[in-house]
């Protein structure tokens, strides 16, 4: 007894103090990250959005003029919607392309080696820069690009077509190409959780391949589809490189406008207001998709 009492009086380590220190150790980096990379920039953006420019100088204030402008003056609200449309189409096509790949990776490649190779093939394009990939599409889709040359060689067309490049088609195609891996990985991550025996059970109970897909695979994969959809939508929505490189005369998107507001007009407050509007939209979108993901997520 006395021995133990001695130990307690000498600087014995206190469990509670250790726990507290440990908690601080793990919490500090995320808190710093959150404050430094999210809270502060968002607060600055919000602050700017309520002010106005006087010639080249910013005047702080509290005015909703910029928001009114975003909502009522063309082209801002229209371009936010247009960008959302491009984002949605990107998400749609990415998901459509990604789904079979994810299925193949999850269920039809029995050998780990083949799975690994496909995985590398999927993420390989990420090793090349975005610009290189966008330029590659230019050389494919151009008036004298590979596609036109090929079609002429095949005798499908006599004159090169200009409809492949410098329009929304080429933007969505490029965005889809670049962002599909995100969809593949998030759908795959979800499908991978699905035990093969569920598919066998469905087949065993008499389900056709289609019924197995509709009744078992699809419902379980929805959270992955949603997650991939949110990622590809967001990336497509906010993109400004594809419209600049592969877009046509009408292919402007909201990010390009924000850039021009900062670079040409030096209208930081209006740019900030657009930013805040988009952040709010993104928060609403994420809330809805998180809710749906939760609703559809299954405990396996």
């Amino acid at each position: 007894m006395t021995v133990q009492a001695d130990i307690l009086t000498e600087n014995a380590p206190d469990m509670r103090r250790i726990e507290r220190r440990r908690a601080l150790f793990w919490l500090l980096p995320p808190i710093l990250w959150f404050v430094g990379f999210m809270l502060v920039p968002y607060a600055i953006t919000l602050f700017y959005s309520f002010g106005r420019m006087d010639y080249v100088q910013f005047v702080a204030g509290f005015s909703l003029d910029n928001y009114v402008k975003v909502l009522t003056v063309q082209p801002y609200a229209g371009l936010i919607l247009r960008s959302a449309k491009i984002g949605l189409l990107t998400a749609f096509w990415s998901t459509l392309l990604a789904y079979p790949v994810a299925i193949a990776m999850a269920f039809y490649l029995s050998s780990e080696c083949a799975k690994h190779i496909l995985y590398i093939l999927v993420i390989l394009p990420w090793w090349a820069s975005y610009l290189v990939k966008a330029y590659a599409w230019k050389t494919i889709l151009g008036t004298h690009g590979l596609l036109n040359e090929g079609l002429i060689w095949l005798g499908v067309i006599d004159e090169p077509l200009t409809v492949f490049l410098y329009n929304d088609f080429s933007i969505i195609l490029t965005l889809t190409y670049i962002f599909t891996p995100f969809a593949v990985l998030s759908i795959y991550a979800q499908l991978e959780r699905l035990p093969l025996s569920l598919i066998e059970a469905a087949r065993d109970l008499g389900a056709t391949g289609w019924e197995t897909f509709i009744k078992v695979i699809w419902p379980i994969s929805i959270p992955g589809v949603l997650a991939g959809g949110v990622i590809t939508f967001s990336l497509g929505f906010g993109d400004f490189i594809a419209p600049a490189l592969l877009g046509g005369a009408d292919s402007i998107m909201i990010s390009s406008v924000v850039i021009s507001l900062l670079g040409v007009a030096n209208d930081r407050p209006l740019a900030a207001a657009i930013g805040v509007a988009i952040i709010l939209m993104a928060m609403a979108l994420l809330t809805v998709s998180q809710y749906l993901e939760k609703r559809t997520q299954v405990r396996l």
Binding site: I44, Y48, M53, D54, Y55, V56, Q57, F58, V59, A60, V73, Q74, P75, G78, L79, R82, G142, T143, H144, T162, L165, Y166, A244, G247, G248, A249, D250, I252, V257, S260, L261, L262, G263, V264, A265, N266, D267, L270
Partner: protein, 358 residues
């Protein structure tokens, strides 16, 4: 001046760097802080200067005139000695009192400058000259003469139906000015709402002809070489580059409505003239020798007429073909001015781009 502080706050990182730079600046005798475009402080031009004067050049690169304005207003001569804005930004700095007048007596080379750069409107206030003109150029209108053999000397040719889907236009307010000149606006840098609306309509009418808005010289050259477009408005560098790639049928159209012109000038940040290196630099960069070097480096023309005499024969031939060194042509140019209503201009410009072409 609370606003300035706020701007400084937002550029917090820049400010911190600035303080660092300032302390260095104070320590090293004979150093010169430039806020400029990357091409303007190349070793080719800077090394002879440092050798001659012992002044060490510390450049900070910028990517837009707004950046120059913002940083100059925020930190002043504490961290910057000289800036090199373009003619659509110079008056902003002059009006803000952020730069000081030039003492012409210290710069003998100014006498050799082209007349148009002797006392350009964008640098003169109350009879004081506030900057030393440097590189300059005109915007060009070019078309493939095989497609339009009979091009009139007017921007109206852009609206020609034969050019449907065949033009590349600059993604810049200059293209808005082109349309404004087309509809006969007198002062394209100070348009009324009505004029802006008309300009907008003219641009929307032009859209079916536009295949692509370009953003760099290289892009325009590529668009042309890959036969995506047959012409548009572009820069001298793009035109000379294309000609060098034997795009012989590409011909310049000299529009009677005029073309935009840009001109960069070195300006002294208020209070910086105490630094002896400042006038040494201005003297050096206004000399024909240094400008010939800079021209070789950048491909631009420079304001000292004598610098043309020191160019290599091919470079001179090209600039002559382009009419860049012709004082008469220089006078006809619609030199860029600051646009007080830039926000409204940009809004119209973005509306045009958002409009779906028919």
């Amino acid at each position: 001046m609370g606003n300035v502080k706020i701007q400084g706050l937002a550029a917090g990182a820049v400010l911190t760097l600035g303080v660092l730079a300032a302390s260095q600046h104070a320590a090293a005798e004979g150093s010169l802080a430039l806020l400029t475009w990357e091409g303007y402080s190349d070793d080719l031009v800077v090394a002879p200067f440092t050798e001659k004067t012992g002044c060490v050049v510390e450049p900070t690169y910028v990517s837009s005139n707004d950046e120059i304005i913002a940083k100059t207003l925020a930190s002043g001569s504490a961290t910057i000695d000289l800036v090199s804005p373009s003619n659509d930004a110079t008056m902003t700095l002059i009006d803000a009192g952020a730069v000081e007048p030039i003492d012409k007596s210290k710069l003998p080379h100014l006498a050799d400058y082209f007349p148009v750069f002797q006392s350009p409107s964008w640098l003169v206030k109350d009879n004081d000259l506030y900057g030393v003109p440097y590189g300059y150029g005109f915007l060009r209108l070019v078309l493939d003469s095989n497609v339009i053999p009979d091009a009139p000397a007017s921007v109206s040719v852009l609206w020609d139906e034969r050019l449907k889907g065949k033009l590349a236009m600059w993604d810049n307010l200059e293209t808005l000015y082109v349309a404004a000149r087309y509809i006969g606006v007198k002062d394209v840098y100070n348009m009324t709402d009505e004029e802006l609306q008309k300009t907008r309509d003219a641009l929307i009418a032009l859209k079916p002809n536009i295949r692509k808005f370009w953003t760099s010289d290289a892009e325009f050259q590529q668009l042309y070489m890959q036969k995506e477009v047959v012409g548009g408005n572009t820069t001298e560098l793009a035109v000379s580059g294309l000609w060098a790639q034997s795009a012989d049928s590409l011909k310049e159209v000299l529009p009677q409505e005029g073309s935009g012109g840009w001109s960069d000038s070195w300006m002294i940040v208020k209070g910086a003239s105490e630094n002896p290196c400042v006038y040494a630099w201005l003297d050096w960069i206004s000399s024909p020798e240094s400008q010939a070097l800079a021209s070789k480096l950048t491909g631009y023309a420079f304001a000292n007429a004598k610098s043309f005499d020191m160019l290599e024969p091919e470079a001179l031939a090209l600039l002559t073909k382009l009419g860049t060194g012709d004082p008469e042509v220089q006078k006809s140019i619609s030199w860029w001015q600051p646009v007080p209503r830039r926000g409204a201009y940009l809004e119209i410009w973005n509306q045009v781009k958002a409009e779906t072409a028919q």
